[in-house]
């Protein structure tokens, strides 16, 4: 069974938490004690319907204010797939959490309130999904019950969204529209009798049908060395294994590899998972590799196939999503964490700020505030081995760490 990671995006009160609660309810994923808690609290609050958002809004402040503040991870499975939903907040000040939730997802659900239609926030949600190159986007036009399940209104919103799609720069994205009512359960898991004009699949039917291999950005094999395993025991005296996760493609025993940064050549001798040997390690498997030659490799170094080198440079330009209250300014120094590799970086230049509502760029910008997105170039104290984000989601992304607070202050996508 495969696992599909989904990020949700929508404005406050668009009903994201309700939608997730509805999916859990209709797929019978809510256990009876959780359902009882929802019934009890809904009743206490005097609602005449079940407040499914109570299933996902886990923090006191969230329940008090009826909004989602931080990413929650929700798990459920059907006979076909396992799902992890990152329920991300829709507030403008929580853009950073949206980027966070979307960064590990293969699919996204963007919610639109049928009464309000495409609003500025919708542009932002779409922009971020586009920036992160999420391949599969479902636009759930919600609260259809409040517009009398009007086909005309649905088409109007769909046409508005299609106009927005002309602005994106990642055209491979597949976009699907579904008219739903999360509160009443129309077209979420079960087909609705209220929308006879809608011939498509329900939201869940669509997700069930997705081919996981097709929605994943693969890229070529990269093997960053995470940890060197040297047991130094009687039994394994000379064992020298390089532990790490295979990113992109696959690596096999016998493959000629180049170790970076030394650029030394060798061949893969063995691939282990625990005490078991394998011929090939495919994408995202955590393995331990031994080489035919004694090569000096340590954490942060990388093995790649001999005919497929990444860019090896001490500088790069990237789209930055800034996540800290302290601004990013030209000249500032940060730690760039690229995979498991950490290097010191200096902000060379802020090229321009990009308005995530597609309203344009600000070429004059010199610094970035929380939730800003911009093109920034960096100089590093030593080279890293990267790919462009559009070619390799893993080897083309990094995080920025503040040298004083140690906080993760930005996400970067190498251009």
């Amino acid at each position: 069974m495969e696992v599909l990671k989904i990020a949700t995006a929508g404005s406050v009160d668009d009903g994201k938490s309700t939608l997730i609660g509805r999916i859990l309810y209709d797929t019978k994923s809510l256990t009876s004690d959780k359902l009882e808690a929802i019934e009890r609290t809904s009743k206490q609050k005097g609602y005449d319907y079940l407040d499914f958002s109570l299933a996902t809004d886990g923090l006191v402040a969230e329940r008090e204010q009826g909004i989602t503040i931080d990413v929650a991870h929700i798990y459920f499975s059907t006979a076909k797939k396992s799902y992890i939903i990152a329920d991300t907040p829709g507030h403008v000040e929580y853009t950073r959490n949206m980027v966070t939730g979307a960064s590990t997802s293969q699919a996204a659900i963007i919610l639109i309130d049928a009464r309000k239609g495409v609003i500025e926030q919708t542009n932002r949600h779409f922009f971020i999904n586009n920036l992160l190159r999420i391949k599969e986007v479902v636009v759930a036009i919600n609260k259809m019950d409040l517009v009398d399940f009007s086909e005309e209104r649905y088409n109007e919103i769909k046409a508005d969204f299609e106009k927005l799609m002309e602005k994106r720069d990642y055209a491979d994205q597949k976009i699907t529209f579904v008219p739903v009512s999360a509160l009443k359960g129309d077209n979420v898991v079960n087909k609705s009798a209220n929308t006879p004009w809608y011939k498509g699949e329900t939201l869940l039917e669509h997700l069930e049908g997705l081919d996981l291999a097709a929605v994943s950005n693969v890229g070529t094999p990269r093997f960053p060395v995470q940890y060197v395993i040297r047991p130094k025991t009687e039994e394994h005296h000379d064992f020298r294994g390089f532990a790490g996760k295979v990113y992109g493609g696959e690596l096999s025993v016998g493959d000629e590899v180049i170790a970076l940064p030394s650029q030394t050549r060798s061949r893969i001798k063995e691939i282990y998972v625990y005490d078991k040997k394998y011929k090939t390690a495919s994408r995202r498997s955590s393995v331990t590799i031994t080489l035919e030659d004694e090569i000096n490799l340590s954490r942060g170094d990388m093995l790649v196939k001999a005919n497929d080198l990444p860019t090896i440079e001490k500088q790069f330009t990237a789209t930055i999503s800034w996540m800290d209250s302290k601004p990013l300014t030209a000249g500032n120094k940060y730690v760039v964490q690229h995979g498991v590799n950490k290097v010191l970086a200096k902000v060379d230049q802020v090229h321009h700020k990009i308005a995530p509502d597609y309203s344009g760029v600000d070429a004059e910008a010199q610094s970035l505030d929380m939730n800003d997105i911009a093109e920034v170039s960096f100089r590093l104290n030593k080279p890293i081995f990267y790919d462009k984000f559009k070619n390799h989601r893993t080897n083309g992304s990094f995080i920025l760490i503040d040298t004083q607070s140690n906080n993760t202050v930005g996400a970067g996508f190498i251009s």
Binding site: T31, V99, Q226, G241, E250, D275, T280, T394, I399, N406
Partner: protein, 312 residues
């Protein structure tokens, strides 16, 4: 030295299956802990989740030994079967085990034993844990918490930074992007690490079954002297839960779904005497795991409050 003959490997390690993907992710996280921290420790309760963590750690560092010790914060109210199991496992795998006792914190006057019908030592663990972290200068504590357990847990990061009071600031968590885990901290801070965050209870059981991992016997159905309170089944054998005279003791066929402190862990009626039956039972269950944990029922925000105080 004897040279082992190289058998020809034919299999491809793939990551498409759900449980496989979770295992690969957990191994990656454990390796990050070993690489990024000076003094990590694995918090071991003897429950199924921490037993699973130990297996994952074995896999992550093989053929080397697990490069960190285990630590049990012992409430003194553990099921005897769990302690027996704990000691055997540690011995078999040649691991280092540190035990710190809540009783000591009580004797030192640092915490006060709760009184009354629902008294439990569960939340008292926090003080003992924080003291132990300080004593050993641990900078990372690996725990078997899962996000599906409880809704405050669902909000927590895989690398969860705690301040020098062990406190969780749920409104100011580090963003966690892609696969990148930022373990940079200041002196005095520590990180709680949750490698099986994305696992569900069923995933853990399926893994235990697939891997043939041994677990304490109380997880399987057995006859036990029990009594009923608030619709839950409590063990009457160990004298930990204070029983009213009108609460009748009866022998029932039960098992435990979660093995916390005895004072707050109720049993469930079950005839699952094998791991296959346990997996089937969990799959069909309509009650969540924490439904049998009285400490979570204290209020809507019981777990969140405990975590803010430094609970793991």
């Amino acid at each position: 030295m004897e040279v082992k003959e190289l058998e020809v490997p034919t299999e491809i390690i793939e990551n498409t299956a759900h449980i496989n993907a979770l295992e690969n992710e957990a191994i990656y996280i454990l390796r990050e802990v070993a690489a990024q921290f000076e003094k990590p420790v694995l918090l071991f309760s003897g429950g199924k989740d921490s037993i699973t963590l130990v297996r994952l750690a074995q896999k992550a560092f093989w053929p080397a030994k697990i490069p960190f010790p285990l630590m049990h914060i012992d409430t003194g109210h553990n099921f005897p079967e769990t302690i027996e199991f704990r000691d055997r496992l540690v011995k078999e795998l040649g691991l280092e085990l540190i035990v710190r006792n809540v009783q000591d914190s009580i004797d030192q006057g640092k915490v006060k034993e709760e009184s009354g019908r629902y008294s439990s030592r569960n939340s008292l663990q926090t003080t003992t844990l924080l003291d132990a972290i300080e004593e050993f200068k641990f900078d990372a504590c690996i725990g078997g918490a899962r996000r599906d357990e409880e809704k405050a847990r669902a909000k927590e990061r895989i690398f969860s930074v705690r301040d020098d009071f062990g406190q969780w600031d749920e409104r100011n968590q580090r963003p966690e992007l892609f696969d990148m885990l930022n373990g940079q901290i200041e002196l005095g801070q520590n990180v709680r690490v949750f490698p099986i965050s994305n696992w569900t209870e069923l995933d853990v059981w399926s893994y235990i079954k697939d891997e043939g991992i041994e677990i304490p016997s109380i997880y399987f159905a057995h006859k036990r002297k029990t009594f009923l309170r608030d619709g839950m089944i409590w063990s009457a054998e160990d004298g930990i839960v204070f029983r009213d005279e009108d609460e009748v003791v009866e022998e029932r066929m039960v098992r435990f779904r979660t093995v916390g402190d005895m004072s707050c862990t109720a049993a469930v009626l079950s005839d699952a005497i094998s791991i296959d039956k346990v997996v089937a039972e969990i799959r069909d269950s309509s009650i969540s795991e924490r439904g049998a944990r009285i400490d979570d029922k204290r209020s809507e925000a019981a777990m969140e409050k405990r975590k803010q105080q430094g609970y793991f």
